[in-house]
Structure formats: C-alpha cells, structure tokens
C-alpha cells in the first residue's frame, strides 16, 4: 500500500488485492483495547480519580462506538475502492485518515495486550502460541499500515 496522489483533502492509495483483503480482515478485530485498560492517574492519588476514570471509560467507549460505525461504513463503501490492474485505488479524506490511524493503533496496542505486553528491552519476549499468533500478525500488519498512513500525512502535520 502506498500513496499515489493527493487531491485536495483526499489521499489516494494504491493497494494490492491481498493487501486490501489483509487490511479489511485486520480492521474487523476493532476494538481490541479494553476501555478499562487506561488509567487517568498513574498512582491513583488524584482527587476525583474514580469519577475521572468513569468519565474516561465512557468517553473512550463512545469514541469507539463512533469509530466502529464509521469503519463499517468504510468497509461497505465500494466507491472507496476503485479497481485497477494490480489491485485498487483506495481513497480517504484527511479526517478519515486520522480516525483510521486511531483504529489501526487500537488494534496494534490491543494485540500487544493480548500477547501479554511483551517488551524486548526488558527481556520479555513474545510468547507465541497457536491461539495468539494471529494477534502477533495483526500487530505487525497494523504497524505497517500506520507507517503508510503517517507517511502520507508527511509534512502536513
């Protein structure tokens, strides 16, 4: 998948058939991060922390519902994918790129959580098993799609 041109606010990507299938399959995993995963406060010592946590979870859940709705609309919008000889041209607006980036990162981080939060720097490698192998693949694919999207944003952010 690579950016072929930018037309006003639209980004047009060239995406192969297998890449497209892979992207759509990975996107079906969304959302993967449990809303309770993040805490507002590292130590739990701030005032109103319980209320903050509840607000955060509500806010994230609402955001994810909205992202899921947009994602389903995207996956079912065939006009976004124009067939070419080698695959298709995939068109996204700047705002859609932004939320797709969030969605893809949710899948990447969620996969990492399911894999037991491996950390090579701390000597905690991934423990691959048959049950979690697809999440390892999803984490890597999401990283690849993210870099493509970020590369397309390029110098404009």
């Amino acid at each position: 998948m690579k950016l072929v041109r930018k037309e006003k606010d639209d980004f047009v990507f060239d995406i192969g058939k297998r890449e497209k299938r892979l992207l759509l399959e990975v996107l079906k995993l969304y959302p993967l991060i449990p809303t309770a995963h993040h805490g507002v406060n590292k130590t739990g010592g701030a005032t109103r922390s319980a209320e903050n946590q509840r607000l955060l979870e509500e806010s994230l859940a609402e955001r994810k519902r909205e992202n899921k709705r947009q994602l389903l609309a995207l996956l079912n919008d065939e006009k976004r994918f124009k067939e070419t000889d080698r695959g298709c041209h995939f068109t996204l607006g700047a705002a859609q790129m932004e939320w797709l980036l969030q969605v893809v990162n949710d899948i990447r981080v969620g996969s990492w959580i399911i894999l037991g939060q491996p950390d090579e720097k701390k000597g905690k490698p991934v423990e691959l098993k048959n049950e979690n192998a697809r999440y390892y693949a999803a984490m890597e694919f999401c990283g690849y799609f993210q870099l493509t999207l970020l590369g397309a944003f390029g110098g404009q952010t």
């Binding site: 991060i33 993040h38 805490g39 507002v40 406060n41 590292k42 130590t43 010592g45 701030a46 005032t47 109103r48 903050n52 607000l55 955060l56 806010s59 994230l60 955001r63 932004e98 980036l101 969030q102 990162n105 949710d106 990447r108 981080v109 990492w112 939060q117 491996p118 950390d119 090579e120 720097k121 701390k122 984490m139 990283g143 993210q146 870099l147 970020l150 944003f153 110098g155 952010t157």
Partner: protein, 144 residues
C-alpha cells in the same frame, strides 16, 4: 435634566417663582425667612463630586501554582506505540510544530515519560482523554 440658571431656567422653576416668591416660607427653623426660590437657586449649582482614588496597599500576590493548583499531563513510554505515531498525536492534540512534538516523543522514549503540559483539572482531563483515545499511555498528576 434641564438646568435652572439664567435663560435656561426651566418652566417649572419659573412657575414656582411666580407662585411662591415672597409667599411661601419653609417651616424649618433658621430658614423660615428664605423664599423657596433660594432653595431652587441652591439646587442649580452643580457640584462636581470629588472622588479620590483609594489608596490601598496591595497584598503580595502568590505564585501561580499557589493560587491555582495545576495538573500535569504526562505521557509514559510503552514498547508498542511507534515513535512517528506518538509525534503525530502530539502535533494533532496540542497543535505543536513537529520539532516540539519530536522533542517530547524522544523524552518519552529515552526517559520513560514526558510532562506535556500543566493545566487546570478540566483541561488536563480533556488532554488525557484525547491522548488515550489515540491509545497513548497518558495520565494526569496534581502539580505539587
């Protein structure tokens, strides 16, 4: 309100002059011999109020942190979020230029965390929610 001096004397003042001059006196002691017109004449003079500014000794203002407790928005390192992604999120959420966003991203990466901003509780909550919606590990701590 019209004034009652000279040619500008208002109609109601002239009427009072005709009706009351030499015929009406006040019942207040000490001014019984003075006709009512004298009082009108007394009223027509405009006295400029003299208001002097109060002089108060200003109390020494406390430091901002004493007056308004602030909250620090902190982003923590994790081994999963891509460095380019973190930079992009900082740019989007805070509207920072790329060099500043990269500076904080590298601080997160090298030092384990970066204090991104100091805000009121509501603003800090807003930023934490924004950063966490991008799946970054962000928290807020009260500034001591």
């Amino acid at each position: 309100m019209p004034t009652a001096t000279g040619s500008d004397e208002a109609g109601w003042v002239q009427a009072a002059r005709v009706e009351n001059e030499h015929t009406w006196t006040s019942s207040l002691p000490g001014i019984e011999s003075r006709p009512v017109l004298e009082y009108f004449r007394g009223m027509v003079e405009t006295v400029e109020p003299v208001v002097l500014p109060d002089i108060e000794t200003e109390k020494q203002a406390g430091a901002r942190s004493e007056l308004e407790p602030g909250y620090l928005v902190i982003c923590w390192d994790d081994p999963v979020n891509l460095m380019d992604y973190v930079t992009h999120v900082f740019q989007v959420v805070f509207g920072w230029p790329k060099p500043k966003a990269e500076f904080h991203m590298l601080q997160v990466h090298n030092q384990g965390k970066s204090v991104l901003t100091r805000e009121s509780m509501e603003r800090a909550e807003h930023y934490v929610h924004q950063l966490q919606s991008y799946s970054l590990h962000a928290t807020m701590e009260r500034d001591r």
